[in-house]
């Protein structure tokens, strides 16, 4: 069929702009979908619509203006209706696209840091916030650094191969992180504010509360005017950060070769809050770790002026924190690498 079409003057003459406007506007209002509306647009504004034909044929200015005005109004009405319908259709579609929100998501493999790493980082972050740096120690140590420089008496039980793993007469797997105190102090002048985490080794038969390899964090502060009060204040802060602000600390006497006075830090029992229960053996308190004022012999050993400088040190077991805080019933679990356990933390 030819694109060109003969125009029938009779038809043109028959156009009644007002009636046409009314019919068209009604059709726009009654369109119930965007598709409907498209049909309305073609019918009333399309190339073959009465309006287009009339516009093509019209000769007098007034009728032309009237028709144009009608066209503009109709275009506007269609566009408004178009928007309304689009919104309605979107709402309808979205209402239909409901999902069961309780359906599980598509799994994404998620990794986990080992609990001991998490606690190590927590320790590091607490002390980084206090202005300490983190230093790395050695695990294989000379008896010089592991014992002599730390003021261990010759009769101290830890010097015995019954308690310590020796490589030869002068070489051991370090029994605590304390040798890193010496190595740090040997390489820098005071002030020293460090923590040093790492693996330690003792000849302990594995059971629920012992593994021959375990982790400690050493802390050391040496400066002018460091006091026992500073040590207690620092450990009180540490205990609350680790175990909760509502917990309380207590410090009791102890003995370590490398500190004098030596203390043990206790935290109020999380089960009974200090009133006594089987977990804390009816004392209300749970031992967390050892500490003390750096023995002057240790300071002198590294060439510090023990009159001018004082210091404190502590060495806490990370596994102990895991047991106390997370209820790990058996330390060996931490080495089993069972994914079900690793994913818990």
């Amino acid at each position: 069929m030819s694109e060109k079409q003969e125009i029938d003057p009779a038809t043109v003459a028959a156009v009644d702009p007002e009636a046409l406007e009314e019919t068209a506007m009604r059709a726009v209002r009654e369109a119930t979908s965007t598709e409907d509306l498209d049909r309305v647009r073609v019918e009333y504004l399309g190339r073959k619509s009465q309006l287009k034909l009339a516009l093509r044929e019209v000769r007098d200015r007034n009728t032309g203006m009237q028709l144009n005005k009608f066209r503009e109004a109709l275009e506007m009405a269609i566009s408004v209706r178009q928007e309304e319908l689009r919104q309605l259709e979107l709402d309808r579609r979205l209402a239909e696209e409901r999902v069961d929100v309780t359906i599980p998501g598509t799994p994404v493999r998620r990794g986990h840091l080992h609990l001991i790493t998490q606690i190590r980082r927590e320790f590091e972050d607490i002390f980084l916030g206090l202005g300490y740096t983190v230093v790395d120690g050695r695990e294989v140590e000379t008896t010089h650094y592991n014992f002599d420089a730390l003021n261990f008496p010759l009769v101290h039980p830890t010097r015995s191969p019954l308690h310590t793993l020796f490589l030869d007469e002068h070489t051991v797997l370090r029994t605590e992180t304390s040798p890193s105190q010496i190595r740090t102090m040997e390489t820098q002048e005071p002030p020293v504010y460090i923590v040093s985490p790492g693996r330690c080794y003792r000849r302990d038969t594995p059971d629920a509360t012992h593994t021959p390899i375990f982790h400690q964090v050493e802390g050391l502060a040496v400066d002018e005017g460091i006091t026992l009060a500073d040590l207690e204040g620092t450990l009180d802060y540490l205990l609350r950060e680790l175990f909760g602000q509502e917990r309380r600390s207590q410090f009791v006497t102890h003995y370590f070769p490398f500190t004098e006075p030596s203390i043990e830090a206790l935290v109020s029992c999380h089960i009974c809050d200090g009133s006594g229960c089987p977990v804390c053996r009816h004392s209300g308190w749970i031992e967390v770790g050892g500490a003390g004022m750096v023995d002057p012999n240790v300071l002198e050993f590294v060439g510090y002026d023990a009159e001018r400088y004082t210091g404190f040190a502590f060495g806490w077991g990370l596994e102990r924190i895991a047991v106390l805080r997370h209820g790990i019933p058996d330390l060996r679990e931490l080495w089993r690498n069972d994914p079900r356990l690793l994913r818990q933390f």
Binding site: R110, G111, D168, T227, Y255, P261
Partner: protein, 764 residues
């Protein structure tokens, strides 16, 4: 050590309860494991239902062969009838009686009046186990004559007691004694101390005691005392009970006395059957080569010349300070004893007891260094008891020693105490604390240390600790001033955390595996000469075997799609005393070479590093699917190692981190668009795609921003041993928009080089 409170209170008068004493001791003196309630319950006047009784009559029961009907005076005016099953007493015996209503630890309900085969029984005559004073149930307790019938039994025997279970630190051997504990309690709780001070028995029919110490360094003091007419027998009930509560076994009066006195003074003693000593002599010397001794436990001990021996001049009779010999053991036939109250040097004793794996209550004290001055009060108390309890006569005494150690004198500056503790503390309070603990403080603040602390307190800081101990709960909590601090992780520590976080983000679980392993691929790996077990004998040089074990554990639990990593030390043999300890990163994941390399690419990308690889080899990896980088190796796990397909990697962290850039400098990758072109080149099968990419960069220079292999095709359209490699080239300049002509020129240069170097034919 067990310290019954009734015993402790004999030496120190102090008001506070057991709980308060324990609390104070725990803060300021030693670890208190627990406070144990023993004996009969102290509730509702229960103790009043236990009385001393006197047996007036004990007749056989007419209707029961094993029972007797007793009339017992318990001070009520008329005797009580009690039916009793024990036969170790007769009329006239003083016994312990529980009245009806009494609560006993061995009964579920209060004691009742009962009729036993027709005879009323209105109470119970007690055996020691029935009131928690021992384990003997062979007969009832027969008490010494003395207390009137009706006397509360609690006045005579500790039928209700609390026992402190304490663990002194190794520097406080003085607290391994009742007197030492009493002294500490007196000082900490303001009590009055009155240690036992019996009269030393006189020497009768005096005879010389021959003691020769050939090794005064090992044995600085030896008191030898001889007793004759010794009557060996059981110990009286009070002694049996005390030993029982202190966790020691009652053996005989003589042996019990030595153990009791050790517990009182902390200085161990030994009693020899003197008739078994050649010439009744004692010679203290080191063991001879090849010498042997059968100790009291029946074991034949092979001795070394470093072992200190008690001998009679001819042969050894005891392993000094550790255990007596079987031959000279005091037994029922003994009538003559030599009491040893000596002092031994700790180090040798420790070495001997460790080597022989023989630790005793005695060696446990000696190895910590016992005060040589204690030998004397211990000898006196033991002598008094031997005379009183074994009816013996002391016939000789000798005290062999060289000059005993002087008491240390230490200068204290009270202001130094304040400086170390971080609080004010009046000088007079400091003096008072020291004096209560037995120190003598002179006007000029020189302090004389008591003999029992002479090894432990030798410096000003030791005195500061003595002053600090009682007030550890009264120290303020402050923070160091920290005028110069810099709290930041080092570069490598930050990168290590980044690696951990990237791998966790990639779904890896962090494993912890043992640094000590059964064997290591490196034959030179450091080996423990005396490992705890064959499983933990070598310091590892690689993390992979541990991770393989961990993966196997995961498989056993049914885990799917497992990925594990570990960051830990390896210990590389260095040829020097200490191995080269290096941080390694190891990983294992279920998947093939491509998945593994993808993880490495992610990791390197996070570190802003290019992953450059070359073909490599590794014992645990698939020989055809192993790559090397500067920092280590990765690839597919050798199929023999683990079922299913796994990838693994192990990198040296320091090497990995070394080229990580300090900072990333801005590069304009936005303003001027990149021109992308794909090419496909057919090359021989053995040409590695990595070499093509490298050549592309070489040919095009910095304007080639990226060349990425996106397809490798092998098939019919190619000659047999050739493959087609598709590369996506991305040309970009930070300074201008590249023209098509420039891009075409660069592309041409790349194609030319690929053809020249690899015979590559352009396919598209």
């Amino acid at each position: 050590m067990r310290a019954p409170l009734s015993w402790l209170r004999e030496y120190v008068t102090v008001d506070p309860s057991a709980g308060e004493i324990a609390r104070r001791l725990a803060i300021s003196a030693l670890e208190v494991e627990r406070v144990i309630d023993v004996g009969v319950p102290d509730v509702d006047g229960n103790l009043g239902r236990f009385l001393v009784g006197s047996v007036l009559e004990a007749r056989p029961h007419a209707n029961a062969d094993r029972l007797r009907v007793c009339q017992v005076d318990v001070g009520e005016g008329h005797p009580r009838q009690i039916v009793c099953g024990a036969w170790n007493f007769e009329a006239g015996a003083t016994v312990a009686v529980a009245l009806p209503g009494a609560l006993l630890p061995v009964l579920d309900q209060p004691l009742r009046e009962v009729e036993l085969r027709g005879q009323q029984s209105r109470g119970m005559i007690l055996a020691e186990d029935e009131v928690g004073l021992g384990e003997d149930h062979a007969g009832i307790m027969v008490l010494p004559r003395g207390p009137e019938p009706g006397t509360p039994l609690h006045d005579v025997l500790p039928i209700h007691d609390q026992v402190l279970d304490v663990v002194p630190t190794p520097n406080r051997v003085d607290l391994l004694s009742m007197v030492g504990l009493a002294r500490e309690v007196a000082a900490l709780l303001d009590g009055d101390l009155h240690p036992p001070a019996p009269q030393d028995p006189p020497v009768v029919d005096g005879e010389p005691v021959v003691v020769t110490v050939e090794d005064p360094a090992g044995c600085p003091r030896y008191i030898g005392r001889v007793f004759r007419d010794v009557k060996i027998g059981p110990s009286p009930q009070w002694l049996r009970s005390r030993l029982y509560l202190a966790e020691m076994r009652s053996i005989s009066n003589v042996v019990d006395v030595t153990n009791y006195v050790m517990h009182v003074w902390g200085s161990p003693l030994h009693a020899f059957d003197r008739a078994r000593l050649a010439g009744g002599r004692i010679v203290v010397r080191r063991a001879r080569p090849g010498e042997e001794l059968r100790t009291l436990d029946g074991t034949l001990r092979r001795l070394e010349t470093s072992d200190l021996m008690i001998t009679d001049g001819e042969r050894s009779v005891a392993l000094a300070a550790i255990m007596g010999g079987e031959e000279s053991e005091v037994g029922d036939e003994t009538t003559e004893i030599l009491l040893e109250a000596a002092n031994f040097e700790p180090i040798g004793i420790l070495r001997s007891s460790e080597r022989l794996a023989l630790r005793t209550a005695g060696s446990n004290r000696w190895e910590k260094g016992v005060d040589p001055y204690l030998a004397e009060p211990a000898a006196v108390l033991a002598s008094r008891m031997l005379v009183d309890l074994a009816d013996a006569g002391m016939t000789g005494h000798v005290d062999v020693h060289e000059r005993l150690p002087e008491r240390p004198v230490v200068r204290l500056r009270p202001e130094r105490t304040e400086h170390v503790l971080g609080r004010t503390l009046a000088a007079e309070d400091q003096r008072l604390t020291l004096e209560k603990l037995g120190f003598e403080v002179n006007q000029d603040w020189t302090v004389t240390v008591p003999t029992w602390r002479a090894r432990d307190v030798t410096r000003e800081i030791d005195l500061v600790e003595e002053i600090a101990r009682p007030i550890l709960d009264a120290i303020p909590h402050t923070m160091p001033l920290r005028r110069h601090v810099r709290g930041r992780l080092s570069r490598d520590q930050r990168l290590r955390r980044l690696v951990e976080d990237v791998l966790v983000g990639a779904g890896f679980l962090e494993a912890y595996t043992w640094s000590l392993v059964a064997s290591d691929p490196d034959p030179a790996a450091v080996r423990l000469p005396d490992p705890m077990s064959a499983d933990q004998a070598v310091l590892r040089t690689t993390l992979l075997p541990g991770l393989v074990d961990a993966a196997r554990t995961g498989l056993d639990t049914g885990a799917e799609d497992l990925a594990l990593f570990e960051i830990a030390r390896v210990y590389l043999p260095s040829g020097e005393q200490l191995p080269d300890e290096r941080w390694h990163l190891g990983g294992i994941l279920e998947g093939g070479y491509a998945e593994t390399k993808g993880v490495l690419e992610t990791l390197y990308g996070a570190l802003h590093l290019d992953l450059r690889v070359r073909r490599g080899s590794h014992r645990q990896l698939h020989p055809g699917k192993t790559a090397e980088t500067d920092a280590g190796a990765f690839g597919e796990l050798h199929p023999c190692v683990l079922e299913r397909t796994w990838g693994a990697f192990e990198l040296d962290l320091a090497t990995l981190f070394a080229p990580v850039p300090e900072r990333i400098v801005y590069e304009d990758v936005i303003t001027y668009p990149a021109v992308r072109q794909d090419i496909a080149v057919a090359v021989d099968e053995d040409v590695e795609v990595g070499a093509l990419v490298e050549a592309a960069h070489e040919a095009a220079g910095p304007l080639l921003r990226e060349a990425r292999v996106f397809d490798v095709y092998r098939g019919e359209q190619l000659d047999g041993d050739r493959k087609s490699v598709a590369l996506r080239l991305s040309f970009q300049s930070p300074e201008r928009t590249l023209t098509d002509a420039e891009a075409a020129e660069l592309r041409g240069a790349i194609i030319a080089l690929l053809r020249a170097r690899f015979g590559g034919e352009l396919r598209a």
